[in-house]
Amino acid sequence: MNYQFEFGWLAEYYPQIVKGIGITIELIAVGAVAGISLGIFCAWVRALGPAWLKPIVALYVELIRNTPFLIQLFFIFFGLPSLGLKLSELQAANLATVVNLGAYSCEIIRAGIQATPNGQFEAGASLAMTRFETFRHVVLVPSLQRIWPALSSQVVIVMLGSAVVSQIAAEDLTFAANFIQSRTFRAFEAYIVSTAVYLALAVLLRQVLAMVGRLIFPRRAAR
């Protein structure tokens, strides 16, 4: 192998990379906040919500969990315009990320809710709280705390999966790498650099999520 590695292009193209990192972070930040919120709502529906909503949420969750993110993205970006919903690349990428994480986090959070001891619901009821009030004030936070590690892993998985939004020309980190390789013909180096950046982002994201966990759950709740 007589290949000469060449990273000189970094000097010229690092603004593209920085911009790509920014978009990737924006995607996962929006995706995490909105996706987990959606997941909490869906988990509530599946565990305790009204009967008529349950099959709809179940269908949504099963459909998303059993199809590739890439196809969800294509469907939203290329398919929805025929229903009159035209989104920009970034909007489509954001929507796909939220919808995807919403379904996965629903299942994770639901497991957390189901692990709640029945006595917690009974205690809430005995204090004259409604089922929803009990959920909101008694059940939710310990449930989230129980599954926070699993939820954090899922957020990291979605962040790494977001690399495919480059395929609808959303200008994320992978898009930057593709752009650079097409200009410099330094495909291998461009992808090695962006892979390293992803790895760093994954490590960082895990730490941020652990920190967020310590902020939301300051004390160890009873398991």
Partner: protein, 219 residues
Amino acid sequence: MIEFTIWDILRNLLLATRWTIVLSLVSFVGGGVVGLGLLFLRISKRKWSRSLAKYYIELFQGTPLLMQLFIAFFGLGLFGIDVPAWLAAGLALILWSAAFLGEIWRGCVEAIAKGQWEASASLGMGRLQQMRYVILPQAMKIAVPPTVGFSVQVIKGTALTSIIGFVELSKAGTVVTNATFQPFTVYGLVALIYFALCWPLSKSSQILERKLNVAHRNH
């Protein structure tokens, strides 16, 4: 312009689905073999081999599968080989699956009570004998549901190989869309085919898991 009926579209997509299935099988089986090797490294008594497996797993779980595909595709090219897309796709997916399967199985091995290691050791068994006769038969039982569950991730993962030019279901979806200009129908159908492949596996993983839990509670 030629009119495409929904059956024309579906037929073309189903033909390409064969390659999704073949690639999934190859990746899953290959990943299983490499993953088993990783498992043994990961639970070895030697520190260097444990670290090696740990870093391998962290690397492959901490970077996008898409990047791994790109690197396999362009990296192999550096050796002067003209890399066909199927080779890069298969290689990357095998290495990626191995990382996840190795980690899943490690969890299963570590779930076996410490007393089983001690009892078999006290009977004079060596490490390999312990694994083969005592630990793995028990670990394999609890490994079935998550392993079946992971096969769904493999099938979905194969969709990314369309991006490096391997013609499977997703790539066929793009090709057919470009010919028919019916993205809603085509990607809708593509999604349904993936669903038909994945959902039975997801469901059986859940059912197996529930059975296992019931069996455990009865102990």
